[in-house]
């Protein structure tokens, strides 16, 4: 379990992350996003249809008890975070598409997350359910730093750009923070945790990547865009999930529900890093092949 201080620290970090997310956006980005029905459609479908379905399916197939099921479904319903943009940047993905999908999923989060979460957790016993109002409130509160971030970027581009980077990096820092502060104190718990919980926490990301890629190819996106969409689909806003659980539950209940969001956050860093390295190689190889085709067509200098 996390102390009050840690919860507060996490809230502050979350604020900074959202500040950074805001600093990566302009109102023009929103306006542009709304002009691109394909991007919006893909963003909405992956975030609010495919990943929630992956979450529910995994919870059902693995037969998770309510405490874990709620954590998993919550993670599955959340929007993508700035972390996904960073991984996409490093994997040489289509940054504008990544940003667009984050914008869209964030824009609709206040409405759609509570709605879908409510819908998907209907069958779960009342005491384990997360009140949708709670989620809506957290998301709404986080809109404030997002707006401030957008303002900062407009006011001083340098401040905006630095905060954008800090916010993005903090997504990873928060997870490291969890590893350092949470894992050592709970290793006993981790050892006794059933494999199904691990499977759910890891599977959400991994299956998300696969489903995202398949869906993108299905709607005829090229391979590079499909890789971008895959990362964007698999990476959820982990710290946000942790925060919502902290604000919704107390005591041992909190500890149980928290397990999957924390495990997800830990493992998504590993799986995304591996995928990023792989995607980066593929993109580099494709670029090299294109260059070679051109060089091959040129006469040799001799």
């Amino acid at each position: 379990m996390l102390s009050d201080f840690e919860t507060q620290l996490l809230s502050v970090m979350m604020m900074v992350i959202m500040l950074g997310m805001g600093a990566s956006l302009t109102f023009k980005d929103f306006a542009l996003a709304l002009r691109k029905p394909t991007g919006i459609g893909i963003g909405l479908v992956t975030t609010y249809v495919l990943t929630p379905l992956v979450g529910v399916t995994l919870a059902t197939v693995l037969n998770l008890p309510p405490a874990y099921a709620v954590g998993l479904i919550l993670m599955a319903c959340l929007p993508g975070g700035t972390t996904s943009n960073i991984f996409n940047y490093f994997s040489k993905g289509v940054l504008s598409l990544s940003l667009l999908m984050t914008v869209v999923s964030t824009l609709f989060a206040v409405l759609l997350v509570p709605l879908i979460l409510g819908l998907l957790t209907q069958n779960i016993e009342g005491e384990w359910r997360i009140p949708p109002e709670n989620v809506a409130r957290v998301l709404f509160v986080l809109l404030v730093p997002t707006l401030i971030g957008m303002g900062l970027r407009k006011w001083k581009p340098n401040v905006g750009a630095v905060i954008e980077m800090v916010g993005g990096a903090l997504g990873v820092v928060v997870i490291l923070f969890l590893i350092v502060s949470w894992v050592p104190r709970n290793y006993g718990l981790l050892l006794t945790t059933p494999w199904q919980v691990y499977a759910g926490a890891i599977g959400l990301g991994v299956v998300g990547f696969a489903v995202g890629y398949a869906f993108a190819r299905l709607v005829r996106q090229d391979k590079r865009r499909a890789r971008t969409i895959a990362l964007e689909t698999g990476i959820q806003n982990g710290p946000l999930g942790v925060l919502i659980v902290l604000l919704s539950f107390e005591g041992s209940q909190q500890q149980q529900v928290l397990l999957i969001p924390v495990l997800y956050s830990l493992f998504i860093v590993l799986t995304s890093s591996a995928l990023t390295v792989w995607f980066r190689r593929i993109t580099a190889r494709e670029e090299a092949a294109r260059d070679n085709a051109k060089i091959g067509a040129l006469p040799s200098p001799a």
Binding site: K28, P157, G160, A161, V162, L298, P299
Partner: protein
């Protein structure tokens, strides 16, 4: 649309008022005094991180650099100093420092190969170089072959706020791994400035003795596309005259101290050097420098964060911007005008730009050997697409046939010009100079037509002409027709050997619409071009070979075909 007003015979050149200054350092000092607190340069990274220098800071730093060159490096007036820098805040400081020291700047493309660098440094006899750290390893490889004794290394985020500059540099070094290790004996630009300040406090005006309009200011290398690169010798007088000529044509929309100009083209190229750097500095403008305009999305933050009033570019840059949704959805609101040159602008691109921005995009013509501006379309008056307007004030232009005799009115001929902006010749190459400079007339190698109203049109490069069954086909014309097709992003046209017609027209097309088929283009051209001008071969490409400023390299395409022919 605009009916030409007939004019009789050759016009005398419009008068040009002489420059108020004998040399560039005098101009710089006056302007920097007038606009001291105004921002002179801002360098913008793709993520919006930026650094700026005021006019007073540019003045102070470049004074220090002049002292470094003269007092610390012991260089003399007329010594050559190479600058190998992308658009960044180091550029104006280094360039103006070199000029204030009475030395000669040698603009060098940072993307040059070590062999190209070696040629340019040896040919110019450069004794010092200011190079960006991103390419220092290339210098190390060839330094021993040159006369260079002083190496100054600049960073891309030079003069950025420390935290921001540190982040940019760290990302370049550790993430992009673009900052190579090197074992050069070098000083950093910051150290060079400190050394200069310590050696001689005060202004660099002490080096002005002997400096005048006829003093060499710049060796601008050109002609690398055809054999060996030659250094065009441009004097302080050439450059000052050319900036007054440019101003004479554009002043109506350049308010002193009020403009914000976007410099996406590299300053080491003569077009941006004179038009963006010198002209806009002279007018106290705020110059927004973009280190790398490719991909064109790198310009987004510059357009978002600064009220850009002027842009200059080449056809490919405008075309690329017009394909960006962030640009077309929110075109710059403060824009007053745009200038195009470097290669022929396509009428379709100009029309789309002007419709989108509601401001004129005027096309000009120039060449390195003429500092470079020769002519420009009028900014406010009537102008026709596909023309290069009227000669700049003080410039005489005539069109001549191969024997040097004037061609009949309306007939194509090689464009020859005479004026205060014409270079002194090629550095240490009297034969090459004699080939292009005859009796004070610069032979451009470009074929032009003069309309009855005196307006000039460039038909093509002499050597790019395609000869189909004895008929001249001008690639520009065919490219422009192809570019009119909405499915075409850009096109290049060359001549290839053909058994039947001698040469045949071959088109390379980058598609905007992936569904575009060759047959669409055939019928498009059939409706607009006489049969001998129509491309016989078509090839779709992902991109076209281009020079650093985005000029399409037809000669590379020709070389591909020729080598394929030889193999066959």
């Amino acid at each position: 649309m605009n009916a030409p007003t007939p004019m009789a015979g050759l016009q005398p050149p419009a008068p040009l008022s002489p420059s108020a200054w004998p040399h560039l350092p005098a101009m710089v000092a006056d302007v920097a005094g007038q606009h001291a607190d105004r921002t002179a340069f801002t360098c913008v990274m793709p993520n919006g991180m930026n650094g700026s220098l005021s006019y007073a800071e540019v003045q102070a730093h470049s004074d220090a650099f002049a002292h470094y060159l003269r007092a610390v490096c012991q260089l003399h007036a007329g010594d050559r100093v190479a600058l190998q820098l992308p658009n960044s805040l180091a550029y104006p400081v280094a360039l103006l420092g070199v000029l204030k020291a009475g030395c000669v700047a040698v603009n060098t493309n940072p993307l040059y190969t070590p062999a190209e660098m070696a040629h340019q440094f040896k040919d110019s006899g450069a004794q010092a170089v200011v190079i960006v750290d991103l390419f220092a390893d290339k210098l190390e490889a060839i330094l021993a072959q040159t006369d260079i004794r002083h190496v100054v290394i600049a960073r891309l985020p030079e003069f950025f706020p420390p935290l921001v500059g540190g982040i940019v540099q760290a990302v370049l070094r550790h993430w992009h791994r673009q900052v190579p290790r090197h074992a050069l004996q070098a000083v950093t630009l910051a150290d060079a400035l400190a050394l200069g300040r310590a050696a001689v406090p005060g202004p660099a005006s002490i080096y002005r003795e002997g400096l005048g309009p006829d003093s060499l200011a710049l060796l601008q290398y050109t002609g690398g596309t055809t054999g060996v690169a030659k250094g065009a010798m441009l004097t302080h007088g050439n450059l000052l005259a050319n900036l007054e000529q440019m101003l004479a044509m554009a002043r109506s929309r350049i308010e002193p101290g009020r403009e914000v100009v976007l410099t996406a083209l590299p300053l080491y190229h003569i077009f941006a050097f004179t038009v963006n750097f010198l002209v806009m500095f002279r007018m106290g403008a705020h110059n927004v420098l973009v280190p790398n305009p490719r991909p064109v999305q790198n310009l987004q933050r510059a357009f978002e964060n600064y009220p850009i009033t002027w842009v200059t570019g080449v056809n490919t840059l405008y075309n690329a911007l017009l394909s960006e949704e962030w640009f077309t959805a929110f075109p710059p609101r403060h824009l007053k005008a745009a200038g195009g040159g470097g290669a022929a602008m396509h009428a379709a691109v100009v029309a789309r730009w002007e419709k989108l921005t509601g401001t004129p995009l005027i096309e000009g013509y120039g060449l390195t050997e003429a500092s470079p501006v020769v002519s420009f379309q009028p900014l406010d008056g009537p102008r026709r697409p596909d023309t290069i307007g009227l000669p700049a004030p003080g410039t005489e232009v005539r069109l001549a046939d191969d024997e040097g005799d004037p061609v009949a009115p309306g007939e194509p001929g090689e464009l020859l010009l005479r004026g205060p902006q014409v270079m002194q010749g090629y550095w240490k190459r009297p034969e090459a100079t004699a080939e292009v400079l005859k009796d004070g007339w610069l032979h451009t190698g470009d074929i032009a037509v003069r309309d009855p109203d005196g307006v000039l049109r460039i038909v093509d490069r002499k050597k790019d002409l395609v000869l189909v069954s004895g008929f001249n086909v001008y690639p520009n014309e065919v490219e422009a027709v192809l570019a009119e097709h909405p499915g075409v992003q850009e096109a290049a046209v060359i001549g290839v050997p053909d058994a039947r017609s001698g040469e045949a027209v071959r088109a390379y097309v980058v598609r905007r619409d992936p569904a575009l088929a060759i047959d669409d283009l055939r019928s498009h051209c059939a409706a607009r071009l006489t049969s001998y001008k129509r491309p016989v071969h078509y090839e779709f490409r992902d991109e076209l070979p281009k020079t650093p400023i985005g000029k399409i390299l037809r000669k590379n395409l020709r070389a591909e075909v020729l080598s394929a022919c030889q193999e066959a």
